[in-house]
Symmetry: D2
Amino acid sequence: MKRVAIIGGSGYTGGELARLLSRHPDLNLVSMTSRQHAGSKVTTVHPFLQGFVDLNFEERVNSADCDVVFTATPHGASMDIVPELVESGIKVIDLSGDYRLKDPGTYKKWYGAEHKDLKNLEKAVYGIPELFRKDIKKANFISNPGCYPTCSILGLAPLVANDLVEPDIIVDGKSSTSGAGAELTKATHHPACGSSISPYKVGNHRHTPEIQMALEKVGKGKLDVVFTPHLLPVVRGMLCTSYVSLKTPMEKEEVQKTFAKFYQGERFIRMTAVPSMASVTGSNFIEIGAERAGRRTVVVMSAIDNLVKGASGQAIQNCNIMLGLEERTGLDFPGLGV
Amino acid sequence: MKRVAIIGGSGYTGGELARLLSRHPDLNLVSMTSRQHAGSKVTTVHPFLQGFVDLNFEERVNSADCDVVFTATPHGASMDIVPELVESGIKVIDLSGDYRLKDPGTYKKWYGAEHKDLKNLEKAVYGIPELFRKDIKKANFISNPGCYPTCSILGLAPLVANDLVEPDIIVDGKSSTSGAGAELTKATHHPACGSSISPYKVGNHRHTPEIQMALEKVGKGKLDVVFTPHLLPVVRGMLCTSYVSLKTPMEKEEVQKTFAKFYQGERFIRMTAVPSMASVTGSNFIEIGAERAGRRTVVVMSAIDNLVKGASGQAIQNCNIMLGLEERTGLDFPGLGV
Amino acid sequence: MKRVAIIGGSGYTGGELARLLSRHPDLNLVSMTSRQHAGSKVTTVHPFLQGFVDLNFEERVNSADCDVVFTATPHGASMDIVPELVESGIKVIDLSGDYRLKDPGTYKKWYGAEHKDLKNLEKAVYGIPELFRKDIKKANFISNPGCYPTCSILGLAPLVANDLVEPDIIVDGKSSTSGAGAELTKATHHPACGSSISPYKVGNHRHTPEIQMALEKVGKGKLDVVFTPHLLPVVRGMLCTSYVSLKTPMEKEEVQKTFAKFYQGERFIRMTAVPSMASVTGSNFIEIGAERAGRRTVVVMSAIDNLVKGASGQAIQNCNIMLGLEERTGLDFPGLGV
Amino acid sequence: MKRVAIIGGSGYTGGELARLLSRHPDLNLVSMTSRQHAGSKVTTVHPFLQGFVDLNFEERVNSADCDVVFTATPHGASMDIVPELVESGIKVIDLSGDYRLKDPGTYKKWYGAEHKDLKNLEKAVYGIPELFRKDIKKANFISNPGCYPTCSILGLAPLVANDLVEPDIIVDGKSSTSGAGAELTKATHHPACGSSISPYKVGNHRHTPEIQMALEKVGKGKLDVVFTPHLLPVVRGMLCTSYVSLKTPMEKEEVQKTFAKFYQGERFIRMTAVPSMASVTGSNFIEIGAERAGRRTVVVMSAIDNLVKGASGQAIQNCNIMLGLEERTGLDFPGLGV
């Protein structure tokens, strides 16, 4: 039984980590921190965890007490906390955007500030197990991917890795509102978003370089990713529809075989004709489908639960790998379906 | 052509007033104020009005320039503004809660503060045209009812006015989120409300005494109203399900005849088997249905668009009456239906 | 490891049973039947179960092969199947409405047909564990309650059992659309229901006598239940708002203490200020809150996942009890929360 | 006052035509037909039209009685009805897909049947006023465009007409469920679609060749349109996100100027940073925005009400033009905004 802590546990990903950990047989949640709520019961913020998490929020975590720490802190805050944690020798999984972009210049361009922890930025392993499992196994520090990147990268990796497509990639992302976090915003005010779909941050969302970086690592050359996020009137889940151009003609069946082969044996990847957000709700699965359209386009559709495979579930999957546990431990249950 | 102004035009009811006025043949919107947005174009706050409202928000309204002013200011703010407007001799319609509760003691109990304008509180006519048309006709100052009260009072008035029911009245209200206004709140954060219905302010919502007051005015004695509001994952519209006990046995048909007779000739009231929120969306109509259940219960269902009949549409209906216009002017169009 | 089968497994409750059984440590799902889909893989109908349920739908179940059978058949069909199953000596849990109303006359009145299996109708134990656990323990045949009844009965039982309230009871129910089943209907066509709440079967829904029957069993005398169901634009979950009149004055705190005492030690019952549908989504929990309003009204709010505590989860809870397993086995995880 | 009839008036577009005609000052709805509902009041099918449409559905229309007929019949049925109507000399506007694809071979490929009325197929004018106004003015027979085509073509036309972009065009469409019609389908069953977005008919939706045909007419050469429709959990409205590659580099401002110039003076086209479905709900407006992304991509976003500008509103706009009325007559009101 390993001891784990969550730093920054009052948001949606913190609550989701606790939800998933509450049923994990080999991980024991011993501490959650929240500056704002220190001293209060965790269940005042996450009432659905009553009967499952009997902790009070603490001011800070004592790393000597834990084997693993998840940092679910806001962007910019993680890099103040991570150095000391990594130094202490425990395993660390950061769910913020702080360590995702390997290149400090790219980081500065998209996050608008200098990176303050170049040492661990270099050290951080980008945690998509299905693509980078070997590195994760050896890692002490994981940068957990964003939800849109997880969803789109896993959908596109088989085509990019096999060098089948042109470098111009379009990702049309559709996210539920929980992806925007617990903080109140105009965009997520129900009257503003409850009966429509809205594009936002068109051409300048921070997940753009993240998608591009990871796909370039998987493939052979430079890419040009165009990413358009949209906000859905849905509380949980995400769909990405991605468009790539085949270098040489391929039929749908060939394309689909490429996917099947690439992901053979992957527990959490399910190839399907049309991915369903409902099928993966609450679970760590991703559903992926691919179709041919037009002269040479492949349309890749992929669906995840943004809080699970898109955040806390994948974080635990990474944790399992780092600790040498069976990768699916505590995550091996189906989505709601309806 | 009468000249009208809206004070406090940046919220949902302000925008809705402008939307309805933009197609009103006899009312000309000449000014909208907003402290926060003074100087900006109205369409920066209400972009859907581009091409229809070509005004900038002003700091304050010049009452000498208008025939009618709508005050769509927050509760507590109206009573600072109304006295001077009424004094100036123009017609005033207040959409806030400030002048709805006739009794200053009741006001203080439910709004938590002393009333500051007892003179106009006494003068204010509670503006539900189908019940209080005569008074509205003679009025210079209208207190425009709340959305829940409009919806439930119109549903219950025929039974109460005919003294058919016991004094214990239950109103189970279901409102869309636009009823909560444009201000960001935890309750209307999409992830918190987008996939559920939630009761709120159970037993202590300010519309309780308002419903009771108006029904007591319509009926013969003291009532005991229990009102439970719920927040729906819907942007526009409202349904109230109300429960009353018959003093003497009546069949459904008799009950329905009572309604038909009571509302005969009322343009905006539509009796129906099952009221539909979609049928009234965007319109000034109310749909009302009544069923018998149990030993002696009448279940009254009523549906409105909370921003139209529940606020701005009814305000214009009141305005039409006060000005001696045909009551349905500018409001005589159907809801969206789908 | 007990062997269980599901008869009528192609609907939502069938799929939900399979979802829950897939993670149950002591129950092994060995067979699912569906006339319409016999021969097809279960996952063609329930694709979210890929990787968890590797069965083909069968024409019929061989009761000699199972220890327990769940009948998730339509109303009217169960009473054709149940007699033989019960006869065979295995445990049977029926999720239809066929065996819920003990009195054959009441059954005929509300279901419009003669009951065909009076022997088992008498034998059937109405399966709400928190109220009828002793009987369930000794039973071989359980009639699993409806979703609205489960939600409202558990909310009202403490007050009725302690004889604190008048016999007139109002239940205002709000259900998600999955409660209406997988069959296409006008009412559940998205354009018809996706942006509104609609009352239906007002005064004549079959759950009315079921609620009344169970509460009369819990309490001391005859009741008069008025029940109004509403359809919500939500896929999963249910809220009931119930209204009762206190026989003698009680403060809110006293009322709440009554609930706390009545349900002390119940794993799946959570008392809360305001029940949350999201908190229980996907889980077997019910959240209950009670408030005082008006002169003598208690407003009871209760929220469940209609497919879990309102159907398949409670069925498994009953199964656990009948088999002498720890009651929470396979069900002890929190809801999604967001 | 011109006399108009609707053939096939029981669906959503039929109801919407009636809604809009009810407030049109120069068009008088004199007849609606429906085979299924002949003899019934129109308001039994469209209850929201009570007080506005006092007609019974008829079996068939007498063309001698009307100046204009709208055929809102299903695909395949229009071409049985249109020849006689056109022959009779009245103006005809067909809202089905029957006359949209000019090339009979393309028609056969995408609709799976031979076209039965080649004469009128050739004669039909494709009715997007902002692009083909001159032809519409002279026409007697209009083929009214599909919703996705209207939304995406208007978004892309300025770039295609000015020959600024490569022939590969991607349209990612998101439609509300009313676009799928009133017929019950598995895809529009609320539990199946109420909490997710789903792609459908990927690579083979009939609107693909329609979009391509109209844009080729506007532009200079052959195009390759890839179109992916998605079903939203929204009742009304549509958003299209389209992707094109610039032939030569352009900044965002230049792109936006191109749009502004192209659509100068168009009443129903509103350029905006981010199009809003809510802003156009219930109205005939389209909102269009354009952004630059990646090396050379332009992202065009466009939003309409699928039942108004995407169907019945545009049909009336076409009708106004054909009859020589002011184009905006009966359509000049803003969307709901909230």
